[in-house]
């Protein structure tokens, strides 16, 4: 079954979550977090559903979704590669790592490879400055990454 299929079941899970909320006032962001957790991202269909659940104008929901960088409107790749662009990583060469990664995968930060395998995100500080520059793939942290090491990191995930 396709991972991002917008199944009935997922909508029901979201409905149940909203029903369980003690208060709907101000709950939009929490509901969007839940929706993203369930669906993986927030396509229009899901945003509209959230708008109806909370009785909010769709524009309101969209305005919020588009404001926060945590919310994705496009499906993410199977593996999300986060390059930390915190200052500590920046001064230790994170930019070069990011460029190399972009060149390797042929996509820009914020995009997903056509095969849906990888997404790249530039992240603001993982907080592992001692390990700068840091790359995180699906939550696994690679510290003190040197140019040239990127390809082997990617390979690890291609084989899985």
């Amino acid at each position: 079954m396709c991972k991002n299929a917008l199944t009935e079941e997922k909508f029901r899970e979201l409905d149940a979550y909203v029903a369980s909320l003690p208060e709907r006032k101000g709950a939009l962001i929490a509901v969007l977090h839940k929706a993203q957790e369930i669906f993986g991202y927030l396509p229009e269909e899901v945003q509209l559903h959230v708008a109806r659940l909370l009785d909010l104008p769709a524009a309101n929901v969209y305005g919020v979704v588009s404001f926060y960088s945590f919310f994705a409107e496009e499906p993410r790749g199977d593996h999300v590669i986060n390059v930390c662009m915190g200052t500590a990583c920046f001064v230790r060469g994170a930019e070069i790592i990011l460029k190399e990664l972009e060149a390797d995968l042929g996509i820009k930060a914020g995009q997903t490879t056509p095969d849906g395998l990888f997404s790249i995100d530039a992240l603001r500080c993982v907080g592992a400055c001692g390990l700068a520059p840091v790359v995180m793939v699906d939550g696994k942290v690679y510290g003190r990454v040197k140019p040239g090491e990127i390809s082997s990191i990617i390979k690890e995930f291609m084989e899985v």
Partner: protein, 597 residues
Amino acid sequence: MSTYRMHLLVCGGTGCQASDSRQLADNLQAQVLMAGMGKEVQVVTTGCFGFCEKGPIVKVLPDNIFYVEVKPADAEEIVSEHVLKGRPVNRLLYVEPGMKERIAEHREMPFYKKQLRIALRNCGFIDPEDINEYISVDGYQALGKVLTEMTPDALLVLMKKSGLRGRGGGGFPTGLKWEAAARNKSDKKYIICNADEGDPGAFMDRSILEGDPHSVLEAMAIAGYATGADCGYIYIRAEYPLAIHRLVIAIGQARQAGLLGENILGTGFSFDIEIKYGAGAFVCGEETALIHSIEGERGEPTNKPPFPAESGLWEKPTCVNNVETFANVPPIILNGPEWFSSIGSEKSKGTKVFALAGKVNNVGLVEVPMGIKLREIIFDIGGGIKDGKKFKSVQTGGPSGGCIPAEHLDTPIDYENLTRIGSMMGSGGMIVLDEDDCMVNVAKFYLEFTCDESCGKCTPCRVGNKRLHEILTRITEGKGTMKDLDNLKELGGIIKDTALCGLGQTSPNPVLSTMKYFWDEYVAHVVDKRCPAGVCTALLSYYVLPDNCIGCTACRRVCPVSCISGEVKKVHEIDQTKCIKCGACQKACKFGAIVRK
């Protein structure tokens, strides 16, 4: 039970090795063996102890005696006197400048007082997932004390007296903030803990929440008592899963222990806490934006006044403090305001946690009394610059802060001084830059961050910062003019003067401070079309030094755009019009024949 009765710890950090600590360790080992004590005394080489200025350093355990500036030749005396006879070698003990007495116990040494842990007191020592460990180190005693022994008014007096100021950046006196919320009458009030730490390169709040979550919960309840609020929210970045996990556990345990919820400790006071997640917007660190985000809206700041203390969450009086500020509260109550205000500088009391990072040896979280000098943090605690490079600047305060040059390294750090020299305390990011960092590029980096994170509401931040970033980009590409420099300065000043919120009002700081202290570097980019640090690729060129080139063709073979020509055993040449400045040739050359200018 231990096989060794004594340990000699020799610092093997970079600084100490440079002053011959390896030889010292060998000598000590030899002396121990000669004395026939190889089974009783262990000589151990360690990582950096800090205090590199006074290296090499030897620490004797279990006596806790600390020797400084020890030379290899001193090994014999240490072993014969101290190890064998138990008499510390007086002349190797540390003398504080201006003081006559020599100090033996390392805890007494001023260096070790450079770092004083108040906010981080429990981080790394207790199990954050066990409330009993927190209780065993006097956890929730401060809450118990205020609830049973103090009126809210007395508590406000105490907080004001302590001199604690907001650690999130602004430095507003916490007691006054609480008092303002307390004075505003309302049926409902809120306490918010701002854990939306977003400065790139600062993570002290996360550390506190991961290492000592209960101290924040306790302080929030105390703030609730002081202001008359019964409801608290912790607004935390969704990107901090572990901190959230530990907070959830801590809140659950505190509720179960009756330290949150109804009728706490039988005093009739009730207070409960809920977690709200941020969703990736730096501007939500600004308190009005944060409040809108909790309300489920776009995190756009609104004009102040009205301040949240008057009209905040759901238009009720609201008190917003950040994590580190809260973490300071319980010790203040238990040790008294006088104790706290005895630490720090005249206007900035207590300690501040800094995330020391960048081109420094000992990257880490340091908590230091206010008033300490930047030099002490970077060179003593931080162990100096990595790879023996030259210090260039230290950037404090994140995107709101500025770049401080070497000439201000001896400035005592407090809110006012940092602002005076064009930077900020901010949340406590401290990034050390060395000679390889281009200051124009660093300013551009921060501006790019601000542009990405601007909420887009007010003109100066939305359009002004975009224009600043465009000008900086032009300069790093060698297309800048002197007129651009004038415009940068003027526009930067106006953005500071007119932007709506703290984010916009401070966003030009990285540009203005680097222009002030590194003007020559800007001029070099604009006039000479040269990047002195060799960072801005558009301004770099690679050349072959004919004298060094032996014509091995290594460079020619690696060049991805085939812009190097030359025959075997003849001097090669780089076609500047084709060169993409990737630097591959320079790496490939074994003869140092390729230089970057």
